[in-house]
Symmetry: C2
Subunit: 491 residues, 2 copies
């Protein structure tokens, strides 16, 4: 039987906690007088089940139960962790804590999701103030790892350690503040940016969308990986943080924002920042940090491209603009010579496609071949609209041969021969070349399917006619060397 | 012959511009009196060549030349775009602009990389002020798409349009400010956060590393995809932006930050924000935005995991913690029964592994099989240390059969039979199951290689002995149904 978490208050934040605990194998008991609580938490759980388990590469423990209870007393019985996420009103929270003191087992940690109150304000007047800590999470709680852990001298050291251990066990990063402060750390930044954004909208400098774009096409992509100081360490170059602060320090005094009160850049403060930055990032040279930053950016941007969102959607639009000049076409009618294998990809090897052996990793060859197959499908009329209307091709079988290596940034071409194309069947043979060298081949057998029934069926007459035309035009080509071969036969 | 860009000032920013122009097919001419300029730009180009071409899925045009010139006059001759990135001193910039006026073709756009000055300050007193715009990029210029385009009434409409067209053609997003303002938009946010961070370090609340973690494990991951307002729109839920502002507006007056001057939340301001947010994001329901956000987060976090960085490194550490409970082992000596196929993966299908057909996409089957192969390698002693010492296995050939579909969040097991294992050769047969259903098989032929010579050679005696032991233990298992089969033979 797993550990027990009691969730007091089941809104977006409480529901996120419920999902994170349950999907990590905890039994979850919810108390929330809202008659909609069950539905709301169910919706959060549904999102979380799709996204959290596949975040890592190892299966999570068996999902724990989520039950709903009419009283706080019943919800917290036997609990190892109690998480309070009731609305941000101190009087209301204090009333809840009074009741918790009467029922929560003495060994349990009580965490508050408060974004504004200090733990001392929550602990004031309680019988066992040492049980209560601030554990402030970020939405969506089931995916974002940050949780601000704020404690006071009333909290026993062992309880603080247990809190850290439990939060870490949920896949979270407990950021233990050195001392309590209004709004903790992260929300102070959010507040500073929010306030500046309100000025920009009010003064008509930029719209909400333009402001969001200023973030997600620029520094947001840096902050997702390195935060503020490490980003500036890289920007400062080999001269280091002291140089960066000296160079950009004066800007703080310029009229760049509405709000001008700044700390004095004393030698002590500059030393503290430079020393802390060395301790944090000094293990990497600036050149290494630049390489790491670029690899992360490519990974983040390509992840966003897969969802056609944000900076990734910009990249896709750019791809569309440069495609005609690359020699790629979208329909077979645009091909000048139907009798030759079709150019189905011309692209550079992305940095994120490398593996620990320093070359393109095997699954990315199949990603490139699969994209090439998609283009052949598009060329015969099985395009996004056709698929949206309910039919597609599924790959049934694949045979890949790795003949040579390929490196990041190198341009690869794929040329495709249609081996068979009739009725439900399509069989393609891809050859991938880099600078003329043959690096890999891919043989693919696909079946045309109905996306409703998930069963194979013939394509529309238009698509079939196009495929047959291409297959017949390729029939005179010599059979590729490895065609139809199995791995056993190759030895 | 491509278009010509003149780069005036070749530091980190000028070098980034040079790389972006050249890799998009422009001829680049650099003027920078720094004797190190050639080396510095060469280093930026080297990073850019690895990362920029593979950002998208279509090859960029042929790279343009980068040449270095001793005078501004020579560098700007025939230029279509001139980008000024000299140090942030107004007197210096004005001197440069004076010289540019004498030599730059009248049709060219002159962009300034200034982060602080307004275009009117740069245009003052020039013969052709309409040629000069602010085009403020973000580091690394060759990867981040944001460029703030700031103009004045002196700029002709056609020149502004051409500037947008050229920047868009470089894969950038020109954010055209509605009017000029000190520090434009993005740097005002950066400044607000930087100032608050200085307070937090000075007051000993958090270190530079803790502050970076507060960003990159939390809101940084949200901002990379949605920015500020859209993130809050989702947080506000179905009640919308007006509700969100009403609920969190009062916090602005609380003592959350050192700096307290805030705009009044008048009805006009609330209406403006809510209406702009509707125009920006209203095409998606909150539920849709939540799904999009989660898919983006999974993609970003998994991209960071591949680099073992930031929130992705946290996820890998969590995987390591939960691995023992999953039934997976790291060395064959830990296996209870050597005679049965080895459990080589137990994981959930990540959200980012789905395709437009709504199921796990083909290349991700190979990603899962390749990870399973890595675990078998680890089990026989070919682990990270062994690879770092200079030897590894490369996959030479793969045969995949897709038997059933698999969905996001579903747990898949892979069990692996060693078909052949002796000398340089390793042949594995993976079976992937989801809830007991066989969904795919993968047959893989690998060769042991020397990572220095990139040629095949036998493994160390220890690794070979372990592989032989496992192969012999599996020799009594029946041959898998599809073993050795080619695609042709399967028909």
């Amino acid at each position: 039987m797993g550990k027990i978490a009691a969730i007091i208050g089941g809104g977006v934040i409480g529901g996120g906690w419920a999902a994170r605990f349950a999907l990590n194998g905890w039994q979850v008991r919810v108390f929330d007088p809202d008659p909609e609580a069950k539905r709301k938490i169910g919706e959060v759980m549904e999102n979380a089940r799709l996204s959290l388990p596949g975040l890592g590469n190892v299966a999570l423990p068996q999902e724990g139960s989520v039950t709903f209870h009419d009283t706080i007393a019943e919800a917290v019985a036997g609990a190892d962790w109690v998480q309070e996420s009731v609305p941000e009103r101190l009087d209301l929270k204090q009333k809840v804590y009074g009741e918790l003191m009467a029922h929560v087992p003495e060994g349990a940690v009580i965490g508050s999701s408060t974004s504004g109150y200090k733990p001392s304000e929550l602990q004031a007047g309680l019988a066992r103030p040492g049980q209560v800590v601030v554990a402030h999470p970020f939405n969506p709680v089931y995916l974002l790892p940050l949780v601000e852990l704020v404690t006071t001298e009333a909290n026993e050291a062992e309880r603080v350690d247990r809190a850290k251990e439990i939060l870490t066990g949920l896949g979270m990063y407990p950021l233990h503040l050195r001392r309590e402060i209004d709004a903790h750390v992260a929300d102070r930044f959010l507040e500073a940016v929010w306030r500046e954004a309100l000025w920009l909208v009010r003064d008509g400098i930029a719209t909400t969308e333009e402001i969001d774009n200023a973030i997600r096409y620029g520094f947001g992509l840096r902050w997702a990986q390195m935060g503020l100081f490490e980003t500036y360490r890289v920007a400062g170059g080999e001269a280091g943080m002291r140089h960066f602060i000296a160079q950009f320090g004066p800007c703080l005094k310029w009229p760049w924002t509405k709000l001008m009160d700044v700390p004095d850049l004393t030698d002590d403060l500059i030393d503290a920042i430079a020393d802390q930055s060395d301790a944090q990032s000094g293990a990497h040279s600036i050149r290494e940090l630049e390489r790491i930053r670029d690899a992360n950016l490519v990974g983040i941007l390509r992840a966003l491209s897969r969802e056609n969102w944000g900076a990734g959607a910009l990249q896709k639009a750019h791809d569309d603009r440069i495609e005609p000049a690359s020699g790629l076409v979208r329909h077979m009618d645009e091909l000048s010579d139907l009798s030759q294998p079709v150019l189905s990809a011309r692209r550079a090897v992305p940095l994120e496609w490398l593996d620990y052996n320093g070359h393109m990793t095997e699954s990315r060859y199949l990603e490139a071949f699969a994209d090439a197959t998609d283009r052949v499908m598009q060329m015969i009329g099985c395009d996004a609209d056709y698929i949206a209307a309910g039919q597609s091709y599924f790959t049934a079988e694949t045979h890949i041969r790795h003949i040579d290596e390929s490196k990041a940034g190198e341009v690869i071409d794929i040329r495709t021969q249609v081996i068979e194309g009739k009725g439900k069947k399509m069989r393609l043979f891809h050859e991938m070349r880099a600078g003329g060298r043959l690096v890999a081949t891919g043989e693919h057998f696909l079946l045309h399917v109905n996306l409703e029934t998930r069963r194979s069926e013939p394509p529309t007459p238009q698509v079939e006619a196009a495929l047959v035309k291409l297959a017949e035009a390729h029939a005179a080509l010599p059979a590729p060397e490895a065609l139809g071969r199995g791995i056993g036969a190759a030895r």
